[in-house]
């Protein structure tokens, strides 16, 4: 029975700069087994599914997108058959997709940690931010002596630094 850490309550946000009003602003971190390590939301207007279904949907979506973009890659020499699952360390060519109301950015580390950031559609290329968030994860979660890998993250240091960074980003 998995239980998902992170907070579901919307924290009081600072005066919203232009471009972020009415838009979802969330972050998910998954590990290679699909366990949601942390889910944070700073500004989410609509919730349609229970959080467990939401996480499964997100993980499944990105798993398929990743696999699809790799198979469709015209410059890739060796292509497996469609449907063959990808190994975690093989790199990811898929970065982000954008719709009318939001932009979803994605990054996967060689160890299979997937970081997903949902922002307003006007956001630029967030790859550097995702790398920075991964760095925060390494510093405050992986190097935390009290953390067991594979469990949801409950670390105050990580939470505060992350909140600070994302607020400055917005």
């Amino acid at each position: 029975m998995q239980f998902f850490g992170g907070s579901d309550t919307i924290s009081p946000s600072p005066p919203i700069p232009t471009g972020l009003a009415n838009n979802g602003n969330m972050m998910y971190v998954f590990n290679r087994n699909g366990i949601c390590l942390i889910y944070k939301e700073w500004n989410r207007s609509l919730r349609t599914l229970s959080s467990q279904q939401d996480h499964k949907l997100m993980f499944g979506l990105l798993f398929s997108l990743k696999s699809f973009t790799t198979k469709m890659d015209p410059s890739n020499v060796e292509k497996g058959n469609l449907g063959v699952p990808q190994l975690p360390g093989q790199g990811c060519s898929f970065h982000s997709f954008r719709t009318n109301t939001y932009k979803l950015s994605f990054m996967e580390s060689p160890s299979g940690i997937k970081i997903i950031l949902v922002t307003s559609p006007k956001a630029g290329d967030l790859r550097e931010s995702l790398k920075y968030i991964y760095n925060l994860y390494v510093e405050y979660v992986v190097k935390n002596p009290l953390y067991t890998p594979g469990t949801p993250i409950r670390s105050e240091l990580f939470n505060t630094n992350l909140d600070q960074y994302v607020k400055n980003l917005a």
């Binding site: 405050y140 935390n144 002596p145």
Partner: protein, 176 residues
């Protein structure tokens, strides 16, 4: 001079050592695990103090040796010096490090926001467990200091106190 090792490797190894001794070798016997970890620290302290006092003359008195620990020894180990040194002139010294390097990344779980009064015992139990595992990690540096001082000719006992995170106080008492 010498080869270099990445700091993350050393940090991870120390973390794993503490967790192996507390959770695997001596599970449920916290006292024994703590003693083992401190003994390992003692050996490390002995050898490190040999290495770092190679070219120095002998220390004239206990205060000089303690000052060496606070300044040179601590900067070799943790890249900074001890922030505060207090003594009661009767053999007890308190070394305070406001930002102890091995504790900077340690983070206790945030207490649940809606814990009502009936759940108080469980909340404090969680906090106690967290502080207990945090204090397990302090036996190693205590052992290092004890080893270093005993190699310099000062037998003593060292204990640690983490009341404010991530500052930590090390209390060093000389047996009279």
């Amino acid at each position: 001079m010498g080869k270099e090792v990445s700091e993350s490797c050393v940090d991870s190894m120390i973390i794993e050592m503490v967790s192996a001794y507390s959770n695997r070798f001596y599970a449920n016997k916290a006292e024994l695990a703590a003693r083992r970890i401190e003994a390992i620290g003692y050996q490390v302290g002995l050898q490190l103090s040999e290495r770092y006092t190679m070219e120095r003359p002998r220390f004239s008195d206990h205060l000089e040796a303690i000052k060496f620990i606070c300044k040179d020894f601590w900067s070799e180990l943790f890249k900074k010096q001890i922030d505060n040194l207090k003594t009661n002139h009767k053999g007890t010294f308190v070394l305070q490090d406001k930002r102890f390097r091995w504790l900077t990344r340690m983070s206790i779980e945030p207490t649940p926001a809606n814990a009502d009064l009936s759940q108080d015992p469980s909340v404090s139990a969680v906090e106690n467990k967290a502080t207990q595992s945090a204090s397990m990690h302090l036996y190693f540096p205590c052992g290092i200091i004890r080893g270093a001082l005993s190699n310099l000719g000062i037998p003593c006992a060292v204990s640690a106190d983490i009341s404010e995170f991530p500052a930590c106080k090390l209390l060093d008492t000389k047996p009279l």
